[in-house]
């Protein structure tokens, strides 16, 4: 069986820029793994996340998601398999009711109304947000909004979840609840974050992306134990923590 995600020799430069974000990036994530993707601002974490679901397209190399090579023909199926949770839930929740947002993905898949309703209930139930179904997104707290955003991709039955900075805008207790949620989900996960304790709580493996290259691939514990390595890539534990 092939890896859940394989990024092979990826090269990408934003239009109008000279400096490439990636020039020969390789990443492999096995099925069922939860992997933290760390790195300083501007290292390309979000750019990589956008590639995994085909929102940005490789200029060289290829993306393989559960055995399927990303191309125009497989784009729709890849977007079903790889669920992308955006950094700002307000970007993701664009409808007036949480239920409609969670139904948006399945409706795009062309499912019938009963199946959509079933998926919506199940997805909201999975994130512990069944009671939010008829709420308006702007009435929710940061943590509730994040749950709703996760539900809005879970309803597509993805095999892989990619979460971009999932702890931003969430209070400390909300972070704990989110960590519990992520560890309870069966999907392969790539968690893009600056939040090292959160990475430790959710992911056994950690990658550090710096200047478009994976420079560290270690057990999360081992990375957090190495303060020199962290400092070299502008990463740091919160005050009061020690390696």
């Amino acid at each position: 069986m092939s890896a859940a995600i394989a990024v092979e020799d990826l090269a990408f430069t934003y239009p109008g820029e000279h400096h490439p974000v990636f020039d020969g990036l390789n990443v492999t994530i096995e099925g069922g793994e939860r992997v933290a993707l760390l790195g300083p601002n501007g290292s390309g974490k979000t750019t990589l996340a956008l590639h995994l679901n085909g929102l940005l397209r490789a200029q060289r190399g290829r993306i393989v998601a559960s055995g399927l090579i990303l191309s125009d023909d497989t784009l729709a199926e890849i977007r079903r398999r790889v669920g992308l949770v955006f950094q700002d839930p307000n970007d993701q929740l664009f409808m007036h009711r949480v239920r409609d947002d969670v139904a948006f993905g399945p409706a795009n898949l062309g499912l019938d109304d009963t199946e959509i309703a079933r998926r919506v209930d199940q997805a909201l139930d999975n994130v512990g947000a069944a009671q939010l179904a008829d709420q308006a997104p702007h009435h929710l707290s940061g943590g509730e909004r994040r749950r709703a955003a996760v539900a809005s991709v879970l309803s597509m039955n993805p095999e892989i979840l990619v979460l971009d900075e999932p702890t931003s805008g969430i209070d400390p207790l909300g972070r704990h609840e989110l960590a519990d949620l992520l560890t309870s989900l069966p999907q392969t996960q790539l968690v893009v974050t600056h939040d090292l304790p959160f990475a430790l709580a959710t992911c056994a493996r950690a990658l550090v992306l710096d200047e478009g290259k994976i420079v560290v691939d270690l057990k999360t514990e081992a990375l957090l134990d190495d303060s020199d390595l962290l400092a070299r890539h502008r990463l740091a534990l919160p005050f009061g923590y020690h390696s």
Partner: protein
Amino acid sequence: MTSPTAFGHQHLHVHGTSPIHRLAPEAKLLGLLGFVITVAVTPRQWLITFAIDATVLLGVFVVARLKARLVLGRLAAILPFVAFAFLFPFVGDGETTSVLGFSLSTDGLWASWNVLAKATLGAAASILVTATTPIPELLAGLSRLRVPAAVVAIIGFMFRYLDLMVDEFGRMRRAMAARAYNPRWLWQSRPVASSAGALFVRTYERGERVHDAMAARGFAGAMPTLSEASATRSDWLLAAVPSLAAVAGLTIVGLT
């Protein structure tokens, strides 16, 4: 995170269980359109017709159990437009009438009345509909009335993101005020203009991100329709009552 704002649409809808609240949104929208058109075509001197229209709205208001303060407060939104109409009696020519010692144009007075009466009736009717219908239902109603999906989507996005934009503008204004910016005169308006520009760019960028998030969930250009129960015959009939009454008012005065 989002604080309630004066412009926030979340306050438009007032929870209730009245028959008006329960009417299907598409029926209410069509009823509103019929009523407003009838009011708009009513000749300005047909006072009895306007009285009938106002009575009908009063009836809807009572059945919907809305608060008078709420409706009157929202009605204040038309004041800037109506204020402009009050210039007509002073600038109109032809016959004049003496009011409180002023010599005013009769035609201008009628023109003011025309704007005042129609704007008040039209706005009040719209307020009654928006106060009794949640935004998602209004949008569903529009799409069931075959309004093009793109137009419905644009209206939906506007309502969804209006609060965020207003909040963002509020934060920018506070950030300026915190640095002792207190504009009073036109030549101090530059920072306001440039923050409007910044807001435009931010909104544009948000639009791109929202579109990305939609594309990530398989959006390929067509909004999926989420079907729901639609209007029954009695909904249509009930929602047509104000329009029919207004048309009747028009006919009665027209015939006598």
